[in-house]
């Protein structure tokens, strides 16, 4: 595996790369450690709080260390490769055969390339901070150990998705993520709403997963392998893609495009894209660290990561210019782009009219995921992934901040009942404000600005799809607006809640500070002046060029987005800033346009739409099935049972008069005979001993008799 990748290097004789990098072989430890930890924790008793939390954190820390060393290994190898003039794309795999499916072997394996390396680092790091935060947040929960068991399993499953080099392994981990999300969202299962939300999340994502599985099966049928990369014979490599392109599915799509769309359906389920987004806001019923983990670092990112991973499949058949620049696009990418852009605006609209602090963030997440999808569709892996990484940090920050606020306000979640927390919870306020500005895309200083700007720039520059640009810009305006609204409600104005708010403990604020730091500085790795991130993912060298910032075209865009952001911020502040309305008072927007407000507040009736269409249909279908079961099949079964009963009656009569009679007679004889013999067995040890001794005498007598001359 690695050896083949590194062998040409060995020809130079003095290359410092070891012929086998242990990190590639031991990459599986990254997901395995948290999973093992969760297995051990599951055996612990409830009072072992410190031990279980410690174990979970230790396992994830070890995974983080491994991920970091993998990351460093990728950087080192890349610089070495480019130094010696090779293709600097680092992609090392380690495959093992698992079983044979017919004649085709099914392999499992793991993959180390820039994408998986940076994703693993991000998941481990954010996950670790959330774990530490959970120690404080869940301190009073009686099921503390169970929580850490699930969390650890969740993190392990997500890391499995990240390092998998096989569609099958990825799918297994993917389903594991689904299962643990169900467990975690329904963690407080005694709350009916939590149980319902867990079910909803599970079933909704399952709808997408069915399509995903179909795509996998189709892919396997076409290419005969489920590995992503396997030295030219993987399903994402040139040969397989050529095969896929040559097959035509319906509607003018190639097999590659159709499979890509099926996989995208799965990704849409996990990432909450437009038709399947309904589970995400309800998932807020879980504990806040769970929301942070699901919404920021792991589950929803899994969908985006999946699309990034199979990007070669999505973009297969894309016409290129002579210089390698894309000269067109593919159907799959167009669908991804439109769905993403629509989701971005749709969710942002709904977020405007929500009052639950976590629900606002949930819709914001959906919206941002739409951005990522659009970024993938328009600008490729680097654009989408950059937003994914920055978003992971600041969204985790916002969720943990929200958790801190909720914790401080004694489990109050309604923003209208908060207010004035600026002074009471200073650390939370400052970090939350940083997260909010990053999410809004406040120019220059925050990471969100650079990543979001890259997407908008890609949309603007795209020569093939024009519509999304305007949608995305409108989404950015809305984002700034609803975040301003939320922050104004929560931190400014007069306190409206009952009870006295307090700052959270150190173990909760420390992760906030760390995340805030990264929410600011992370933008530096992806600015147009120094596009290190893009270079890292694409396997090129990054160069620093400050002048790109001042090009006319770019400066115009920069100015546009800045104006939009300030417009949103200003609008929000004008409507809500320092107003401190009463909780029962109608919202400022509601006064202006009650009809639109009501629509937005009720989430544009998507749930209700599903209620009258899909769910009603299922009810009807279930009733038909029930009728079939009871009347048709039930009747047949009853008839068969009756026939057998008749047989049994006949049999019984035979048995009673013939078989039993003979048997009883024989038994009686046996019983009489046994009674005679049993007199010898009178239960007295001495009688037996006498029989024994008598037998000895008899034997001796026989011996003497037979030895007689």
């Amino acid at each position: 595996m690695l050896a083949q990748n590194a062998l040409p290097l060995l020809d130079f004789g003095n290359v410092p790369i070891p012929p086998q990098a242990w990190i590639v072989r031991w990459l599986w430890l990254i997901p395995a450690l948290p999973i093992i930890a969760s297995g051990i924790i599951s055996l612990m008793k409830q009072p072992r709080r410190r031990l279980s939390a410690g174990l979970a954190i230790a396992a994830l820390s070890s995974s983080l260390l491994l991920s970091l060393s993998a990351f460093v290994y990728v950087i080192n190898t890349k610089s070495l490769l480019s130094h010696f003039g090779f293709d600097p794309m680092v992609r090392e795999v380690f495959n093992r055969p698992w079983f044979h499916f017919g004649n085709s072997p099914v392999d499992l394996g793991w993959l180390l390339d820039p994408l998986s390396a940076i994703m693993a680092v991000m998941v481990c790091f954010v996950g670790l901070l959330i774990f530490i935060y959970s120690v404080g947040y869940m301190a009073h929960d009686e099921n503390f150990t169970r929580f850490f068991c699930f969390m650890s399993l969740f993190a392990g499953a997500m890391l499995g998705v990240v390092v998998a080099n096989s569609m099958l392994l990825l799918f297994m981990c993917w389903e594991l993520v689904g299962l643990t999300s169900y467990l975690l969202i329904g963690f407080w299962y005694h709350k009916p709403s939590a149980a319902a939300a867990a079910k909803k999340a599970f079933i909704t994502t399952r709808v997408g997963d069915v399509f995903f599985l179909l795509g996998i099966v189709w892919l396997f049928a076409q290419t005969g392998t489920l590995l992503f990369y396997n030295h030219g014979s993987g399903s994402l490599e040139t040969f397989a893609l050529q095969t896929l392109l040559s097959h035509h599915a319906a509607l003018g799509l190639s097999a590659a495009g159709a499979i890509g769309l099926l996989i995208f359906a799965g990704a849409a389920g996990k990432s909450g894209q437009l038709p399947l987004h309904v589970w995400l806001p309800d998932a807020m019923e879980g504990p806040t660290p769970v929301s942070a983990l699901i919404h920021a670092a792991t589950m929803v990112a899994a969908g985006v990561y999946l699309i990034a991973r199979v990007y070669p499949l999505m973009s297969a058949g894309m016409p290129l210019t002579a210089s390698g620049e894309p000269a067109g696009t593919t159907t799959a990418l167009v669908v991804v782009t439109w769905v993403g852009a629509a989701t971005a605006v749709f969710a942002a609209l709904i977020a405007v009219a929500q009052n639950d602090i976590k629900r606002i963030l949930a819709y914001s997440t959906i919206s941002q995921l739409g951005y990522m999808m659009a970024g993938l569709g328009l600008g490729g892996v680097a654009v989408g992934m950059f937003h994914l990484i920055t978003h992971a940090f600041f969204k985790a920050l916002l969720f943990l901040g929200a958790g801190s606020v909720i914790h401080g306000c004694h489990e109050e979640q309604d923003v209208r009942r908060m207010g004035g927390l600026k002074a009471l919870m200073p650390a939370t306020f400052i970090t939350y404000a940083i997260g909010m500005l990053a999410l809004c895309g406040f120019p220059i200083f925050f990471s969100g600005f650079w990543s979001k700007d890259a997407i908008i720039e890609a949309a603007h520059n795209s020569a093939f799809i024009k519509g999304p640009y305007y949608l995305l810009v409108f989404g950015a305006l809305l984002t700034a607006f609803y975040m301003t609204r939320q922050v104004s409600y929560v931190f400014f104005g007069q306190g409206r809640g009952d009870g006295h708010a307090h700052e959270s403990q150190r173990v909760m604020t420390a992760p906030l500070v760390i995340l805030a730091f990264f929410a600011i500085v992370l933008g530096a790795i992806g600015t147009p002046a120094w596009p290190w991130f893009r270079a890292f993912l694409d396997g090129q060298a990054a160069s620093f060029n400050i002048h790109t910032l001042f090009e006319a075209e770019f400066a115009k865009l920069l100015a546009t987005s800045a104006v939009i952001v300030f417009l949103g911020l200003g609008l929000g502040w004008w409507l809500y800033g320092n107003k401190s309305p009463k909780a029962e008072e109608p919202d400022a927007l509601e006064k202006a346009a009650p009809a639109i407000w009501a629509g937005l507040r009720d989430r544009l009736y998507v749930d209700e739409l599903y209620g009258v269409t899909v769910i009603a249909f299922y009810y009807w279908w279930a009733r038909v099935a029930d009728w079939l079961d009871r009347r048709v099949w039930g009747g047949i079964v009853a008839a068969v049972a009756w026939i057998f009963k008749m047989f049994a009656q006949l049999n019984r009569l035979l048995d009673l008069h013939w078989v039993d009679g003979i048997f009883d007679k024989i038994c009686e004889e046996f019983s009489t005979g046994g009674g005679i013999v049993s007199r010898v067995q009178n239960g007295r040890a001495q009688t037996y001993l006498r029989i024994l001794a008598f037998a000895v005498i008899a034997l001796a007598a026989i011996l003497v008799w037979s030895a007689r001359p």
Partner: protein, 166 residues
């Protein structure tokens, strides 16, 4: 075939007979101790010092004590109400006599074929130790295991069951 032999034989057989016929169980136990002691003397007479002392140590020092303990624990020191022998005692004696007849006949009939070396074997305890640790080391280990198992088993069997305590 000195006077010693007949003396010891008389003591041993008298002890054994007394043990089997005496009414009182403790008396019987003491009588059987005499028989054991007689056997130990037999062993010494046969130049088997080690076996003789082991016989004294184990039979008189342990088994006899165990027997009297068992007698006292089962209230056997009271005289039995309905006879010492079981009501079909005649059959038992007849069979025992039959066995003796068979054994005696066998011994006397093969008397000519029996070895009769008279040299005193020069065997020291050291030799016994060497043989025990050499040729017979496996039986020794097995006996050790057996004794351990028997100790544990006896303790468990005789353990007082709390639920059934009257």
């Amino acid at each position: 075939m000195g006077i010693t032999f007949y003396l010891i034989a008389a003591i041993t057989l008298a002890g054994a007979l007394a043990a089997m016929t005496l009414k009182h169980l403790v008396h019987a136990a003491l009588a059987v101790t005499v028989a054991f002691a007689g056997l130990a003397l037999f062993f010494l007479n046969l130049d088997a010092q080690f076996a003789g002392f082991a016989q004294i140590l184990i039979y008189i020092g342990a088994v006899a004590i165990l027997v009297v303990f068992a007698i006292l624990l089962t209230r056997g020191s009271d005289l039995p109400k309905d006879g010492v022998f079981s009501h079909t005692w005649f059959v038992g004696f007849a069979i025992a006599a039959g066995i003796f007849a068979v054994l005696g006949w066998a011994v006397l009939a093969s008397a000519k074929a029996l070895p009769s070396e008279s040299a005193v074997p020069a065997v020291t305890v050291h030799d016994i130790g060497v043989v025990l640790m050499g040729r017979y080391v496996l039986p020794l280990e097995i006996v050790a295991l057996l004794l351990t198992a028997a100790t544990i088993g006896a303790v468990i069997v005789a353990l007082h069951e709390k639920e059934r305590a009257r």
